[in-house]
Assembly symmetry: C2
Homo-oligomer: 221 residues x 2
């Protein structure tokens, strides 16, 4: 999975990362064709490392390789979201469970600090900031769970989810609601109630899916 521990990353990895960012920022939109020559020229590299990077992104599910027809940014259907969110709910729920059991006093303090930050971003109405800190909080729980493979799987799925626009937080009241859910999750962890933490995290993810669905419905109308 993560091969490069110390030595400098290979070029194809750097390219893969740059492409990921462009996909996440929707500069490269779902369904868009990826022009190998143009990108290689743009980056000042040859097609070889670029194509290797695309292979990596393909097995991450971010792009779709159609043999002899080129490479396209993956498009997620509503169906995919209906599959992925419950799966994430299951996995992140387990994370919360494990993390609650394994968190020491120092870990708890760190989580509290992260949540404080989240509160501040929310009161400031900084959507992007909130999104980032939210990510950090979930990441922290994954690390606390102590299961590297669990973390890996969640990270992979989260990358795929980033193919969709992340503006569900802009939905009226969603940010407030998300914050509230986080408060409860943290409270459960604080009280070492692993089962509750798991259930609350599970619900938190499904709640996120519901918000996204609501936006989608609104856009359709």
């Amino acid at each position: 999975m993560s091969p490069g521990s110390i030595s400098q990353p290979a070029l194809y990895q750097e390219v893969a990362e740059r492409l990921r960012q462009r996909i996440f920022s929707h500069e490269l939109q779902p369904g868009a064709w990826i022009d190998e020559q143009a990108l290689a020229e743009q980056y000042g590299i040859s097609r070889t490392p670029l194509r290797e990077a695309l292979k990596v992104l393909a097995s991450e599910g971010l792009v779709t390789l159609k043999p002899r027809r080129g490479c396209y940014v993956t498009e997620l259907a509503e169906r995919d979201l209906d599959d992925i969110f419950p799966l994430m709910a299951l996995l992140e729920g387990r994370c919360a469970f494990e993390a609650t059991q394994k968190a020491g006093p120092a870990d708890l303090k760190r989580l509290e600090a992260l949540h404080e930050k989240l509160e501040r971003q929310a009161s400031r109405g900084d959507i992007n900031g909130f999104f980032e800190v939210n990510h950090d909080f979930h990441q922290a729980l994954q690390e606390l769970s102590g299961n590297r493979w669990l973390k890996q799987v969640i990270d992979d799925l989260r990358k795929v989810l980033k193919l969709t626009r992340r503006d569900s937080l802009r939905l009226e009241g969603r940010l407030k609601q998300s914050l509230e859910e986080h408060r409860h999750i943290l409270a459960a962890i604080r009280e070492r109630d692993a089962a509750s933490a798991e259930a609350l995290m599970h619900a938190h993810l499904l709640s996120g899916r519901a918000a996204l669905a609501k936006m989608h419905a609104a856009k359709q109308a």
Copy 2:
């Protein structure tokens, strides 16, 4: 576009599949160095598609790419197995739950048939046959679950598990025990008891881990 003739898979995909088989069969052992030139020559191809195939295998976790130092078959530590099996237990448990709810009469019949086959392989003492049919049974449940992403994640993790030798079934009584567990799982599905199916499948996976650990302990001594 004619529906019959699908575009032929690219060379790097074929190579990736051949390498997977060689890794799963342990012809390429964990920790072994992969000689690009030798393999390319052996397959009668250039290094380019071979290297692309290795990138794919690397993001599947089957090989580890050390920049400027080559490619090695991934070695799993006991720690990894301790991480992966509980995760698989969670995921396959969920699969069993969903599958139980969604299985129609025809699906049930198919599962029964698969289990029959499993019983036959067991009574015949055909370890490899048992292993294959066992795989088919789990695969059938994944498809019944109707969640493509859940199936995908399980498939990916199962590939990684295949890095370890699969001879835990050779452990005294393990085959019998595994068969017994399957009987109970199928019974729960037959009775549409999704919760039980989930719990039994969960236990089944952990039981598999225990058998592997027992073998490892025996080897150490």
